[in-house]
Symmetry: C2
Subunit: 473 residues, 2 copies
């Protein structure tokens, strides 16, 4: 049985505005009806796999549980990194957590923000790598290159190895990201594969490698796992020792040094979706080279990606060539494909002038569901609030605002200053300034409520929490 270890602590901005710090790429629906994270979890499920172990950051913990629930899955554990310190400490924490249960546990370590279209081929490759991993080697997956890419590291196969073999091959060395000329040479040479950052090994084998090549990190992360606290099913790694672990990648800390490495070649399609140009390519352009989402219309365009991310938003492109246009309710990106990697500059520019769009989505995910602001005036705000079945907001009060709640879907149980009432569709309640109140969804369907806030200050931080089932008070 294989334990999928899904790394999803990252918060890249190369796919802004869809990917934001508050809701990064792995949770977005980029190439289909499921998020990259959901696709990764589903790919590594079924026969031969146990439930995944997820390593993520605190802001994403409820997104992880919600998205797994949506595809009918539950994790065997969710490790919360006190802060992102790259892949080396994250993988080690997962290995130590698994090793406490079964030192021989087979781990398939994978980023959760990649696209691998052929699930069957990928599962077959994983299965083919199992014997070598069980024998104690660290098996890394090498992707057959399709272009002279300068954005990836490469794996050089040992002399005599077969780049298209259906079994793990011996590795000569890791190769850093090349320049264009070197990338061309490697593509022609035929015995270089892309390093996809996917590994299969036993927990004890990888822990042993850390013991040899990164003993200080092992000490720090072991202490962090040892002192971890369990909270609503999440495992919160201890912050103090975690901060001592070097902020580095597993490639650099372990893989480039270890001797017991092998490469499993993989040629059935893979992308890290490292930019909008890659999303265009992976989305299957039509004969004219265009990719259009629903509510997007291309007129006389070529090799262009047009995505509307909202049913309320019509996007039209006319006479465009090699353009990426991503339209969301609060932000629109239009970029020439060759410059799509400069999206980070845009995010920096927006950050510099304090635009919330740089880091936040309009929809804010919470443990109990989500909300979005529909209208914001000087002294009022209107929100749509969606509460999951069985979920409950904290018992709270506000100093500076009163609230009107109107239930428009489902049933709400509302507590105001100790008085409990049930509200159905089309019923409303008023929460005076200072009143201690709580909103719950006792039903079996999502509850949707329109909240009209009035007051002199409407910030999210005007909240006093008295009780919270999500341990936020």
């Amino acid at each position: 049985m294989i334990h999928p270890v899904l790394l999803c602590g990252g918060s890249g901005t190369r796919l802004w505005p869809l990917s934001r710090q508050s809701y990064p790429k792995q949770f977005a629906r980029l190439t289909g009806n499921e998020s990259l994270f959901q696709g990764s979890a589903r790919r590594l499920s079924g026969a031969g796999f146990v439930a995944p172990l997820v390593v993520t950051g605190d802001p994403f913990r409820f997104i992880v549980t919600e998205q797994l629930a949506q595809v009918g899955m539950a994790p065997q554990g969710i490790l919360i990194e006190p802060e992102g310190r790259n892949t080396a400490p994250a993988v080690l924490a997962a290995a130590l957590w698994l090793a406490r249960r079964d030192a021989a546990a087979l781990m398939l370590i994978a980023p959760s923000d990649h696209v691998i279209p052929d699930d069957t081929a990928f599962r077959a490759a994983v299965a083919a790598a199992v014997p070598q991993a069980e024998a104690g080697d660290l098996v890394t997956f090498g992707i057959a290159p399709t272009r002279p890419e300068i954005g990836y590291g490469y794996l050089e196969l040992a002399a005599g190895a077969q780049a298209d073999a259906a079994s793990p091959q011996p590795l000569a060395r890791f190769v850093e990201k090349p320049n264009a000329a070197r990338a061309e040479e490697m593509l022609e040479a035929g015995h270089y594969l892309w390093n996809a950052g996917i590994f299969l090994c036993t927990a004890e084998a990888i822990v042993a490698a850390y013991k040899t090549y990164a003993p200080e990190m092992l000490e720090a992360v072991a202490a962090s796992v040892e002192d971890a606290e369990t909270d609503l099913g999440f495992t919160r790694l201890a912050a103090e020792p975690w901060a001592r672990a070097e902020n580095t990648s597993i490639d650099f800390a372990i893989m480039e040094k270890a001797g017991n490495l092998a490469v499993m070649p993989y040629a059935a399609g893979w992308s890290d979706l490292g930019g909008w140009d890659a999303v265009w390519l992976e989305s299957g352009p039509d004969a004219a080279g265009n990719v259009c989402s629903e509510h997007a219309t291309a007129i006389a365009c070529e090799d262009t990606l047009l995505r509307s991310e909202s049913p309320d938003l019509e996007l039209v492109g006319i006479g465009l060539r090699d353009v990426i246009a991503i339209a969301m309710n609060d932000a629109v990106l239009v970029a020439h494909k060759s410059e799509a990697q400069r999206v980070k500059e845009a995010v920096s520019a927006l950050k510099a002038r304090g635009a919330s769009q740089a880091v936040q989505l309009p929809r804010d995910y919470r443990p109990w569901g989500w909300y979005e602001s529909l209208a914001l005036g000087a002294r009022f705000q209107v929100k749509r609030i969606v509460v999951n079945p069985g979920a409950s907001l904290s018992l709270q009060s506000h100093h500076h605002r009163s609230e009107h709640w109107v239930v428009v879907e489902g049933t709400a149980r509302v507590t105001v200053d100790g008085e409990v009432s049930l509200l159905g569709e089309n019923q409303s309640v008023y929460i005076p300034l200072g009143a201690v109140h709580r909103m719950e969804n006792p039903g079996k369907l999502p509850m949707v409520l329109i909240e009209v806030q009035t007051g002199s200050y409407l910030g999210e931080d005007d909240i006093i929490r008295y009780e919270d089932v999500y341990a936020r008070s």
Copy 2:
């Protein structure tokens, strides 16, 4: 004294998504803080001008009064065309309406969707044309061409006329829109000016010209003016005779035939903003050729127009050249500048699939103010409703929905089944299904109200009107 006659019945789509059938270009803020219509009205105001006479369509009548009020103006009259039949009947209706008061009235007839940046120069040109118009000639304004434009008609000056004179010059003939080669020739020849569709003449002179060249139209439009009904200060031209007036332009019906024509040359800047490329040009591109609105960011762009039409919407352009990007809350246009004239195809495509964005703005202007939909679910809708000071919605009821109203700014007087109450900020009222209700703003400031509708059918046509101060019941 000059009577400005502002033609604003048009509903072009070349500037979609800003200009839509429900709220066309002349009412949009395209190049500054006032709309083109407001700019046109203000330009023809002050010393030497009386209040404007406006010719428009029924859907725009309250936009006209509201926009004039915003710039502190009131019209001397608003003629409502039963249907748009091009400029010939519209100009004639205005001339007949004025001639009944003063046959010698001087009319300055102008489209209301043009940009003329130099008000002083334009007023001076109008003043210079007055003597010739008073003498009974039809003076047309000819714009000094700055490029071999194929989108305009031209005015050919008579031999010996001066194309840069400060007084009206004799005209040889009207020239239809040329091909590119002919446009180049005319630009080089130096005695051709663009036909801007702006005319100065007396009411009796232009009526006399219709009598000679379009007697049937004169009969029809005279009957339409004769039988017009006055309604809340609007003059509704009679529909039956109006329908008999030929649907044609004043150029074709009169100007190309009349003998008493003169041309007033004008060289201080003019544009009809006939497309987004023209808006880019008239908006004053920076050194890199870019024009960026508030909330728009250009990174490595050249000769590009980036407009965000909402403070909630960040637009970013990266690596673009000769691109137009217009971002609105419900629609986004991205077009290569050379293809900007194909926006009409986009509007047709959206119409074909029933997208309301083809014709309607999210904000709906009404006689009493405006509203917009903030959220629409299967069985609920949330609206922001803004009621002008002193204004009143109709007394009405609905068959299929109940409503919650929460006042968030100003004061509302609310009538529900005969009971009247005053609601201040942060107060709410419930309107049960079937209740006869009315909303008024008795105050001196705009009143803003959040309406949450619940019901099985939420269309605007579920309304029974009992009384309406705007004569809509």
